[in-house]
Amino acid sequence: MSVITLETVSRWYGNVVAVNGVSMTVRPGVTGLLGPNGAGKTTLIALMAGFLAPSAGTVTLDGVPIWRHTDAYRTIGLVPERELSFGYLTGRQFVRANAELHGLDAPGAATERALSIVDMTEPAARRIGTYSKGMRQRVKLASALVHDPGVLLLDEPFNGVDPRQRLHLMALLRQMGAEGRTVLFSSHILEEVEQVARQIEVVVSGRHAASGDFGQIRRLMTDRPVQYVVVTNDDRALASALIAEDAVVAVSLRRQGGVDVSVSDFGGFAVRLPRIARERGVRILELTPTDESLESVFSYLVER
């Protein structure tokens, strides 16, 4: 079980600040690093992988600074965004070279294991130069998995991977997280993060905008309307009562039944809703938050 800790980490290039005072702890399980392009995701991963010195602050793996600490790579598996330029090697040769560089006892067996995990056993005899983007991505992952690392860092791992393989990769990451590995991957696509990780770290313009379970993050934003759908035995009666409430911003009836409610004060609404229902004699059958998707969290964070 490994933990990566960033303490007030900043990184600047000349007078451009790429990462600004970020503190975060990446624990076992899957963490999604979410942010738009240019937010500093690659910089953060480079810092965590020991390929960038923080300008200020510390980056540690289980308490040991990672920068210039070569032995940390026994624990870390890194899948960079960079393309492989080893086009003259076959997939198997490349993964095997990685196994050898890790000084594994049985590099051949480890190679085959890693190749089978990413479903690349069959094309592994072909040169990397002939691979599709998705295949190269999987070979990169195999090379990062070959030494069975406790920490897996992936920079935009789903880029260019076809939908079927994407599902396969996602399942793989979830499984790795469930096994107690510390898995961190970056993405700018919300659906991807949502499907793999509950734990997210959001970076926007180099700043750590949010951290934690995305549902909780969402609830923390009380200054923004929250969407609910309430299904009752008398929608119209509830709707007419709700619109009188201070906490409610908008109400609309659904064609297929149910009421869409926009709430500005989550706490107040939670207290008032059962009372209103009782006063009006309306029976609540269902209450669901409808926009607790990363999309809304994210678009809100980005637009602020």
Binding site: N37, G38, K41, T42, T43, A46, A49, F51, L52, A53, R68, T70, D71, A72, Y73, R74, I76, G77, L78, P80, E81, R82, E83, L84, S85, F86, Y88, L89, A97, N98, E100, L101, H102, G103, S143, A144
Partner: protein, 235 residues
């Protein structure tokens, strides 16, 4: 030294078109020697061929070899795949150097010996003198160019400026450059074996020590640069 890195570097050297050009350059030098020896008397044109092989072909081969083992990987950042491993950076630098050095000696210095023996079979000492000069200079050249490749994206151009402009053009005009010119040190060593090589007059001790300092310092520097290798995003 790391056998895997050495093997990968050797594959990078031999692979593709670069390998062809690397073979072509010594091939041309030896071919020229064969043609000249067939058409002229024993020993004629020796100086011209040796000069071509030593002052032009050797540094270009060293530059091509050193740039090939490190340049593209640093350029496109794919060296992270080698660096994300619990392997000492200096051992990576030394392994890469070993591959570049082998290519430089085999394809830069050895052709000097071969063409020398072809041109003047009666005086193998002279050929071995040139070979020694090439080996010493090639050892230092490949190390220096490796350090340049670890330092800057423009390693090839800077290396060319050093070998061809500084040592070549300016070296012919300003005699003092012999103190800071790898080619001059090589000749000094070669002249010890056969005076016909023509030493630069820095003294054998200075030449050997200077070549060694440049070699060791450059390889160490390359390793140190790799230790601080920084991964940058595409942005």
């Amino acid at each position: 030294m790391n056998a895997t890195i050495l093997r990968l570097s050797a594959q990078a050297l031999a692979g593709r078109r670069r390998g062809i050009v690397l073979m072509l350059i010594p091939g041309i030098v030896v071919l020229l020697a064969i043609v000249v020896s067939a058409l002229t008397d024993d020993g004629q044109g020796y100086e011209a061929v040796a000069n071509l092989g030593f002052t032009l072909a050797l540094p270009i081969v060293a530059l091509l070899a050193a740039a090939a083992v490190l340049g593209p990987e640093v350029d496109d950042g794919s060296i992270v795949y080698l660096l994300a491993k619990p392997v000492s950076r200096h051992s990576i630098a030394i392994s890469k150097y070993a591959a570049a050095w082998g290519a430089t000696i085999g394809l830069g210095a050895l052709p000097l010996l071969v063409s020398g023996l072809v041109l003047e079979p009666s005086d193998p000492g002279r050929a071995f003198g040139w070979f020694a000069a090439g080996a010493v200079a090639g050892t230092a050249y490949s190390a220096l160019f490796l350090a340049l490749a670890a330092l800057t994206r423009h390693a090839v151009v800077v290396g060319l400026l050093f070998a061809l402009l500084w040592e070549g053009v300016l070296g012919n005009v300003l005699a003092g450059i012999r103190w800071v010119a790898i080619g001059a040190w090589g000749r000094e060593v070669g002249a010890e074996i056969s005076p016909l090589v023509g030493g630069a007059g820095t003294g054998l001790g200075y030449a050997l020590i200077a070549a060694m300092v440049v070699t060791v310092g450059s390889v160490y520097f390359a390793g140190d640069r790799l230790r601080s290798f920084t991964l940058r995003g595409d942005e």
